[in-house]
Symmetry: C2
Subunit: 336 residues, 2 copies
């Protein structure tokens, strides 16, 4: 870890994750079947697979993405102070990622790689049911190292938010553990997103150790939580979660979310999307953004969940995982 | 001109224009005022201006664009056979442009430049009134040459559609004139889009000569047509148009369009957008797409205008100038 502790303003949330450009394309279900892709999940692909899948995809839209990056952009859009740590390359897509996250008001200082893989991208197939299927070529994002996790940023942030997808890279996982330890030494809180069922299955023991010892605030969906504890019933998974994590926010898709805290379990309905759901990409990331904004602004757990639902409802009303309008104004217009 | 006439299937429309990536960003009106930008118009900017404007813009979405390119993508989405001629560089954005237009079903064979300026881009500021303000760095698009206009494509297309924006580059203008002459020699029809009021003012005499002698089908809006003839009343401009052009389709924004033909003037209302207009980028381009599809499929002028209105209504319902769903299915669902 490195740091220049003098120049950092207090932060609400510091996100650590994969810096990715999203390549979003509306796609028929038949395309997933033909390519053996599992709807709703994230698959890691290499450069060659990315090229061949892209060639077969339809016309696309490019937009900055990355799970934790989307979350800290959401926090900033709600009016919070946030920063991001993640690796791009010094190439066109890296410039786009850096421009977008800074223009959204997020502090982003990670030095771009000057050699090695190009900036990572996520090929996102959006089926007519608004579900998204992710195919990620990590590229430069996989080169995140312990040294990239600036101590001064970790110490300045009320919550450090870590993306489970990072567990797919040994060095990034190491950076992740160091960040969690540094946050706790500084009296800060550690939040973790489980990210994806298959990701949890690939790294179950590592996730369990982290959740049992280091996580103050856990995000995931029902499938991911059941995979973590290898149980079939969500209730059993929730009972196990409560033994280790002070607070957990579990999303249930169209059924809303559950917020587990020492006060009990609050059921939060989804916030309606008047024009219909267009693309669920970023739904969990923006739910976490709303929750974290509330959490770092003294709101009680149920209110945090409701703000999460509001933020998620904006991002699923259009293509792409970044908000298209000020979430602070949107929430205010709803009285949230 | 060059050509290998043996391998070209018959085409409905061949578009010739600027190959550009759009960089779309929702922007407050105040930003336009501060930068002295004229709302609704297109300004040409150089590489340095593009860099400094981009730095000040908010988070953006990247999507393939270019006026004539959008039109031929619309023709393909309606089920027509179309091709495009325009220049990109062999860089990341050039690869994206080529992928998107081919994935949309449009033939695109123009060899990318291997040196010189990077692929062109258009920085598009979308204000809350859904109006778009364009700032174009032409880059490699400006290097279009006579040799790029493949004779076999011109001869294969029922209509060649030329984008007025090309008139800003002398070599491209020359390519444009050659293409029109070749089309007429092959018994094909020539369509021209006036593109932008300021563009018309910059090249008025050249446009007039082309409209009087070479254009079979003219596209423009009321402001552009009045600028072409230097008259204040649209009725006067229409009278002058009818002396030279067999058919003209003049868009009037929210007031719909007028289709001028030997049969008279048909007034076409706009097609409603149930969720409200989000971004007018591409409205004129997609109107032209619907019109040209009808025109090349034996429809009478009023029906062509109505199909134009339907295609435009899809593209203004979301961010970006390319259709997000099959226009053939959309039109069929409306009984168009």
């Amino acid at each position: 870890m490195s740091g220049s502790p003098t120049d950092v303003e207090p932060l609400d949330v510091l996100g650590v994750g994969n810096a990715l450009l999203d390549v979003l394309s509306p796609t028929p279900d038949e395309f997933l079947d033909r390519h053996g892709l599992v709807k709703g999940s994230m698959a890691l692909i290499d450069a060659q697979q990315a090229t061949s899948l892209y060639e077969e995809m339809g016309p696309a839209t490019e937009q900055s993405g990355g799970s934790a990056a989307n979350t800290v952009v959401g926090v900033a859009s709600l009016g919070g102070a946030s920063a991001f740590i993640g690796r791009v390359r010094d190439d066109t897509l890296g410039d786009v990622f850096a421009h977008d996250i800074r223009a959204a008001g997020v502090r982003f200082d990670t030095t771009p790689a000057t050699a090695g893989q190009p900036t990572g991208r996520c090929l996102i197939l959006v089926t007519p049911d608004a579900e998204r299927t992710l195919n990620t070529f990590l590229g430069a994002a996989a080169e995140l190292r312990v040294d990239d996790v600036t101590a001064s940023l970790v110490e300045a942030a009320a919550v450090i938010y870590l993306e489970g997808y990072l567990f797919d890279q040994p060095d990034a996982k190491e950076a992740f553990r160091h960040a969690a330890a540094a946050a706790h030494r500084a009296g800060r809180q550690v939040a973790l997103s489980l990210s994806d069922t298959f990701c949890v299955e690939r790294h179950r023991m590592d996730f369990l150790a982290l959740v049992e010892h280091d996580v103050d605030l856990l995000f995931g969906n029902d499938g991911e939580l059941c995979a973590l504890y290898e149980v079939e019933r969500l209730g059993d998974a929730l009972d196990l979660t409560r033994r280790h994590c002070p607070v957990a926010a579990i999303t249930l898709g169209a059924d809303g979310s559950l917020v587990v805290s020492p006060e009990g379990v609050a059921e939060i309905p989804v916030h309606p999307v008047p024009g219909g759901v267009v693309d669920t990409t970023g739904a969990g990331d923006l739910y976490a953004a709303g929750f974290l904004y509330g959490f770092t602004h003294g709101q009680e757990p149920g209110a945090c969940g409701r703000l999460g639902a509001v933020a998620a409802s904006e991002v699923i009303s259009h293509l792409g995982a970044r908000p298209e309008r000020s979430l602070a104004e949107f929430a205010a217009s709803l009285g949230s």
